[in-house]
Every structure is written in C-alpha cells, then in structure tokens.
C-alpha cells in the first residue's frame, strides 16, 4: 500500500497501460507540459511526441480524429482539459463515437477514452465548472465513469482504456490532489460495479465522484446521532450497478441520491425513478434527491456556495428520511 493522490495514481495507471500496449496514445492541449493537472507529467519525455500529442486548440478535431484513430486499431486517450470544453466536440462524441459501431453494423469499434475534468474547483465560474454526466448516460453507445478515489481513478482509467467502447471518464477537478492509500499495483477496477463505501442498515445513500466524500462525512455525522447510512459509490454511471442499489435499498427501504450536478434532469433522477418504480411499494419513506439548484455556477464564493450542498443539509435530509 502507498499514499497517492488521484493525479499520481491516474498518471501511473496511464504510464503503465502505455508501456504495455503501443497502440495507446493520448492527445490534447499542452500534454507535453504535463497537462493542466499534471496527469500527463513526464509522459512525453518517456513515450515521445507521437504518443503524447500536443494538439492545436481544435476540440472538434481532437475528438473527431480520435474516432478515426480508434476505428483504425489504436486506443486514443482524449484529453478535453475542462469538461465544459467538450461541448465544442459533441457531434464527434455523440453522433460519431457513440454510434459508429452500431450504424456500421458492428464493422468498427471505437475504443477511446474521453477524459472530462468536471466539477467546481477554484471558483472558475459558469464555463469551467459543469457536471454533465446525465447527458452522457442518456446516449446509447457510451460508457460513463466517475471515480472518487485514487484507486478508482487509476483502476477505472485502466479499465476504460482496455474497454472496446467509447468511455467518458469524468475526473473531478477538485480531487486531483486528494490522497489516499492504494494498492501499488493499481489494479483495474471493473466498469459497472459500485463500491459499498460504508455499510448501514437505515438508509442507502447513492453517490459518485466528489460527492462520495461529502456523503461519507455526513454518514459519520449521522452515525453519531444513531443512524447508520449505507454509502454506495456508483463509480460507473453507465452501466450503473442496479443490483447493488436495489439490493441495498431492499434492505434499508430508504434512498437518498446525492450529486454535485444540477438536480433537475440530473442522473439522480434516473436512480430515484428506477428505485421508485421497482421498490416503490416497499419503501419506508419516499425516495429523495439532493443536487444543485438549476443555476449557472457563479464566480464569487458566497454565490457559488448556493450551488454546493453542505454536510448539514445532507445530514438533515438523512434525518428527515429516517426519523420522518
């Protein structure tokens, strides 16, 4: 075991995969200098400029070229720099990468990883802070993952690279420097499998990405008041681990979904709706979601704070659900 940040773990995972498989390459802006978050540090020196490619500011072509390169036997790792800039390349991701295999009747696969550094960080305001995972889950053909720990950042990156599907990997900007113990081998983490981050009998709290840490803190606070919360970190959003969620809620009979993204039409709606449809008749309390208000993300801290969910609100919601 070793202490590693998400950035260190993801960097090591990518380096490991590139060492093993010469068809893996990465493309994006400023990768030669290590990438915006250091997640490519040293890789150009090690693997050369042909495999760690500094691109022009041409998001549409970064993504479009990756589609062609993926169809032709390579595994591109596409760096979108900030998830919001991926909006300059949506045709390429949604109309091309996600659909090519199907439209061509299985003649081609598109094994690429689109890395989207998501979420609020450093008060970057409305065009650099969005969390749009719900969009990508809605698109047939895409796998979507959103790790929250160094082990998962590394393990899901490995699995995403090895996966033959286009994967949108949502890496939270605020977690790059988050450190935790990891198995130094950084084993791949299977796509589609949730992690039970905390056992509990009273309520199932489903979450992913940075909100996992908020969920665990709130669960600890709830434990101090005698409520035992089970925290499930989905890790992969498509396919999401229905079995784990439904199994847990079958036991706890209470569901809270917590995520950073806007609540309206967020991915929490899918989880809540599915649980309500499937287990609605056995629930001890109505399903519940906590997400951001439907507002653009402001720059000034007191205004940005409105977008963030704090531990007190999570705790109060848990207590409301369990104590009625």
């Amino acid at each position: 075991m070793a202490l590693m940040t998400c950035q260190e773990a993801a960097l090591a995972a990518l380096a490991h995969e590139m060492q093993e498989d010469p068809t893996i390459w990465a493309l994006g802006e400023d990768l030669g200098r290590g990438g915006v978050f250091g997640q490519y540090r040293g890789l150009q020196q090690r693997f050369g400029a042909e495999r760690i490619v500094d691109t022009p500011i041409s998001e549409a072509t970064i993504m479009g070229a990756a589609v062609g390169a993926a169809m032709m036997g390579t595994r591109p790792v596409v760096e979108m720099r900030i998830a919001d800039f991926a909006l300059c390349a949506v045709d390429e991701l949604v109309n091309q990468a996600a659909k090519a295999r199907f439209m061509f009747g299985g003649q081609a696969k598109v094994p690429l990883v689109a890395r989207h550094p998501m979420g609020t960080w450093k008060n970057l305001a409305a065009q650099h802070s969005q969390s749009l995972e719900a969009w990508w889950v809605h698109v047939p053909g895409l796998v979507v993952a959103a790790p929250a720990t160094p082990a998962d950042c590394a393990g899901l990156l490995k699995s995403s690279i090895r996966c033959d599907d286009p994967v949108v990997l949502l890496e939270h900007k605020d977690l790059w420097t988050y450190a935790a113990e990891v198995d130094e081998a950084l084993p791949p983490v299977p796509l589609g499998v949730a992690e039970c981050a905390r056992d509990g009998r009273d309520l199932t709290l489903v979450t992913w990405s940075a909100a996992r840490h908020l969920a665990l803190a709130a669960a600890d606070a709830a434990a101090a008041t005698g409520i035992e919360v089970e925290v499930l970190d989905l890790r992969t959003l498509w396919p999401w681990d229905r079995g784990a969620v439904l199994g847990s809620v079958s036991r706890t009979r209470r569901l809270l979904v917590l995520h950073e993204a806007v609540q309206v039409a967020g991915f929490g709606a899918e989880i809540a709706a599915t649980v309500a449809e499937t287990l609605g008749s056995i629930l001890a309390a109505p399903v519940r979601r906590l997400g951001a208000p439907r507002v653009p993300i402001a720059y000034a801290p007191p205004l940005e704070a409105v977008y963030r969910i704090d531990q007190g609100r999570v705790l109060a919601t848990i207590q409301g659900l369990v104590r009625g």
Binding site: W25, E50, A70, M71, E92, Q96, M103, F104, Q107, C163
Partner: protein, 341 residues
C-alpha cells in the same frame, strides 16, 4: 456532353497506349456501375423500398472513379451523405451495398445504417456520414493511426463544397498539415449545398485557397473528366506517399439530380440543368474511348453489364430478409449494451 460535341484533349490522348486505354475502360466500368446503382436506388426510393433519404451522385461519378483508381485496398476512405459512389469505387461489393439500402441483414451494416451510413471496412471504406464535414476529422485520425502503427496507406476524405464552410474542415486541414499525415482531402464541388448555391454561402477564392492557408497544397481539376481526376489524384497521392503530408484536390463537378432523390430542383432552370448535363462524365469518357478506337459495342457492353449487375443486386436485396429485431440490441457496446434501462 452530347457525344457530337465532345472534343477530348490533353495528355491522356497524346501518349495513348494500351495501358491507358485499359485504365479508361476501367474508369468507364466504375462510373457505369455507380450510375446504374444510383438510378436503381432512386427508383427504389420512389417505390418506397429504400427508405430515409437517398442522395444520388449521378453526374459526379468521375471523382469517385478517378480518385479511387489510385488507391490500394489498405488505403482508407471516409465519405458523406452522398456516398454510394465512393463505396463502390473503393471496391465494396455492390450487392451488399444495395442490400444495405434496402435495410436487409445482408447489407454491410445489417440494415442498421442505410444509405447515409454505408460502410465496408473490409475494403477500407470507413463510412458515409449523416453530418456534413464529420467524416473529415475521422479520416485525419485514421491517417494518424496508420502513421502511429507504421502502416502504409493514405486516408482519403470526400466532402462537398458545402462542407468547406464548417469548422472541422479547417481544423482538420491545419491538423493534417501540422502532424504531416497522409491525407488526401477531396472536395467534390457540385456548386450546391442542398438547395443553396455555393457562391451564395462561400466567400473568398475557394477550397484550394482555404487549404493552402492552412498549409495544405492544393490543386483544382475538372471533376467531369475522369482522366483529369485520375491524373491529378495520382500526382497528389504520389506527393502524399513521398512526403507523408496532406494534399487537397478540388474537383469541380455537377449534380444532375436534386439534393435527394425526391428533390425536384425547382431552384434550377431547365436551361441550367441541360447545360450541366452536357458535362456528363460517362458520355465524355465514352467519346474519348471512341476516339481512341474503342468500339461502340464494347462501351455499351460496359453499361449493360453494370445494369445487369445492379438489377441482380436489387432482386437479391428485395428478396433478402431483414435482420431479426434483437439485432437492434447488438453492436452497441460491450459494457452496458443491449440493456433496456
């Protein structure tokens, strides 16, 4: 071009020899197959047997034929909504192409794609595309993969004049020049984007100038003359293979039919249409063949053979079964595919 007025000229005729004649005959065959295919596709669309939108390339056959005659099987092609000609010229099986238009299991895409998504990866045809200009960066990336894997081959991307106003076209030019990728950009300039004239939506001197401004050398050619296209494509492809860097071919051509098979072209006068039909690449090449001593019978035999092949393909496509509906859940993704929710 009405046959009486054809005046074939140029280098092809001067040094004419057997190999050249054979090449022109091969072009004639390719173009005749495309023409017959497009006519049948339009007819089947009118009959409701082919669905969606069909964009025939009648009048433009010389571009597909002249360019693809210079490609090896391992060379790659990306195409557009108007992609049947490129598919056939690149060597795809005609019957499987037709079957795809009919949406049948025996089609290249098992009926999942249809006309706008026709593809045959086995011959390097990486797909038509329903989004204008979207095939361009895909070709560029395919070329980048070839280079990375130290594989031989070039990627050719066909696109229309209308596509030259979309951002990905420019981005891809810069990208291909920058990374020195073996890409041939082929602009099939038929003067129209759907119902709108190119000059009404494009400023500046044209596609070749746009390419050169992004570092991609370019040539303009008469796209109705298959020998001229062949010669220009051969020269540019030789430069690409030698230098490993991209080139653009701007081929001026004519779309005889409407944007789709159901577009009656109310926006073009009868005179204009008649004039443009005079640049029929098939008639032009036939006249050249005749001037080189080819017998009329041989030329009509080419057309007849193409017609027969297409008729057989239509009959086979008509008779073929659809894929079973569970196929709608296959070929989506390995992880999490085929799930209802």
């Amino acid at each position: 071009m009405s046959e009486a007025t054809v005046q074939p000229t140029g280098p092809v005729l001067e040094g004419a020899n057997d190999a050249m004649l054979a090449r022109l005959i091969a072009h004639q065959r390719t173009m005749a197959r495309i023409r017959a295919f497009e006519e049948a596709a339009a007819e089947a669309a009118a009959a409701g047997e082919v669905l969606g939108l069909v964009h025939p390339s009648i009048g433009q056959e010389a571009v597909a034929a002249g360019v693809c005659a210079n490609l090896e099987r391992h060379d790659l092609v990306t195409s557009t909504h108007r992609g049947h000609g490129h598919t056939l010229a690149k060597g795809a099986d005609l019957a499987a192409t037709m079957a795809e238009l009919f949406g049948k299991a025996s089609g290249f895409c098992k009926g999942k794609g249809g006309s706008m998504h026709i593809a045959d990866f086995s011959v390097g045809m990486l797909g038509a595309n329903g989004v204008v200009a979207a095939g361009i960066p895909i070709a560029v990336g395919a070329a980048q993969a070839l280079k990375l894997r130290r594989l031989p081959g070039v990627a050719v991307t066909f696109f229309g004049d209308g596509a030259t106003n979309r951002g990905p076209f420019f981005e891809s030019l810069n990208w291909a020049a920058l990374f020195r990728l073996p890409v041939l950009f082929v602009c099939e300039d038929n003067g129209f984007g759907s119902t709108t004239r190119n000059e009404a939506v494009s400023a500046g001197p044209g596609p070749a100038a746009r390419a050169e401004a992004c570092g991609v050398p370019a040539r303009t050619v008469d796209g109705s003359d298959v020998a001229a296209v062949d010669e220009a494509a051969a020269a540019l492809l030789a430069e690409i293979r030698a230098s490993g860097s991209p080139r653009l071919l701007h081929a001026r051509t004519h779309r005889f039919l409407g944007h789709t098979s159901i577009d009656a072209q109310g926006y073009r006068s009868a005179d204009e249409l008649a004039a443009c039909r005079k640049s029929d690449p098939i008639a032009f090449n036939a006249a050249r063949l005749r001037a080189l001593g080819c017998a009329d019978a041989e030329i009509s035999a080419i057309a007849a053979a193409a017609g027969g092949e297409v008729a057989a393909a239509v009959a086979a496509a008509r008779a073929a079964p659809h894929a079973p509906s569970h196929e709608a859940f296959a070929d989506i993704q390995d992880i999490g595919g085929g799930l209802w929710r």
